[in-house]
Amino acid sequence: MTCRKARKALPLLAGGDLAAKKASRLEAHVAFCPACRRELEELRTALGRARAAARAEKAVDWHEAEWKALMARITAERPATRTPAGGRRRWELAAGLATVVLAAGLAIVFRHSIFRPAHVPPAVESAAAKSVPGEPEEISRESLPAAPTRIDEKKFPAIKPEYYARNVDRSRTSPNQASVGKKGSSKTAAAEAGQDVLSVTMVSRETGLQVVWFFNKNFEWKGDLE
């Protein structure tokens, strides 16, 4: 061990704050190095004197009246009682609240991403068509919102993007149609029936496989397509 390295550790050796192994290495160096030995002795002496001076200092203490007043003031504060599992209960409440907030946040996020307005299955489409036989289209094709592109129309001709668009737009214009009369009302009813259906689509990036789940408004499973 060099003197330079030894001197860095001498203050710790003087106070007994080195691990045994390191201390014995350092002591071995100090044993044959007079300069380091002298420095270690100086440090030990200074430390001993400082401790002795601290012990010799006139002890500061409280006046009894001051101490009593302090105790009275402290114990007049809210007591530090230990309620049974009080801390745990608070944590449980906090965790419950956090879960509810998280669930609400997820519901808001996924309402727009997963539970989109329905691609109505063929069965529902035909039922809707029957409810308004021969009804002319009142809404121009151009004004309809863009149809979803996830479902391949060639593979699934029964699920037409137009149908999706028609239903969405009818529901949007339903207040006006309701005021027209009976026909309008029946169309609105059909549209609302369409709106009650939700779909969830999963598309495999590797194989192109699509799985579509349809649910009614009670989240009862209707069927799937592959």
């Binding site: 860095k8 550790a9 203050p11 710790l12 003087a14 106070g15 704050d17 100086e42 440090l43 002496t45 200074a46 430390l47 004197r49 400082a50 401790r51 002795a52 001076a53 601290a54 200092e57 002890a59 500061v60 203490d61 409280w62 001051e66 101490w67 302090l70 105790m71 003031r73 402290i74 114990t75 504060e77 809210r78 007591p79 530090a80 009682t81 230990r82 801390g87």
Partner: protein, 188 residues
């Protein structure tokens, strides 16, 4: 260091609502706490305020006390934190005062300004040469004789940081005793 049985019983009594047990719990430490606060702040009045606040905190947060630790060291930790907060505040105020009074009075460093205090003993004069962290470490480890680990815990820092500050503090104390207070070195 494990908690003494009587202290454990007193802590349990306070926690179960018998607040009169708090006084016998902390009375053995009233003088050591005040001495520690005096050394950390260098001012008796401020030390009294530090201990008051520390005991109040200890009372309010007694349920957080970890019974595997020494109760004394826990109290020391609270008092050291309180003293540090007060010193920081005082330093900040001194800096603001210095900025406000620049040009009107001879310039003094903020550090020197905050050290305007009643220095009563040679030991305190020695401690005045230490930086804030060195001072805390030296007082807790070498004067109050906490071990390095407890010192680190009390100050909320690592054991390595304690060792580094302790080394420099001991060197400075050695130098100041040798140069300015040789009578201390001679044991007078």
């Amino acid at each position: 260091m494990w908690m003494k049985d009587t202290e454990k019983e007193l802590v349990d009594m306070v926690l179960s609502g018998r607040i009169e047990a708090f006084e016998p719990l902390v009375t053995p430490y009233r003088q050591p706490l005040l001495a520690l606060a005096c050394r950390l702040t260098g001012n008796r009045e401020e030390a009294g305020e530090v201990v008051q606040e520390a005991l109040l905190r200890a009372f309010k947060h007694l349920r957080r006390y970890d019974a595997s630790r020494s109760f004394r060291n826990w109290l020391f930790q609270i008092a050291a934190n309180e003293a540090r907060d007060r010193l920081r505040k005082r330093r900040r105020e001194a800096r603001l005062l210095e900025e406000a009074g620049r040009g009107l009075a001879p310039s003094r460093s903020a550090e020197a300004g905050c050290l305007v205090r009643e220095i009563r003993s040679d030991l305190e004069k020695c401690l005045a040469v230490l930086g804030p962290r060195e001072r805390e470490v030296f007082i807790l480890r070498d004067i109050e004789e906490l071990d390095v680990r407890e010192t680190a815990r009390a100050l909320g820092c690592s054991s390595i940081s304690v060792r580094v500050n302790l080394s420099s503090a001991r060197r400075k104390i050695r130098d100041v005793i040798r140069d300015k207070f040789p009578h201390l070195e001679e044991g007078r």
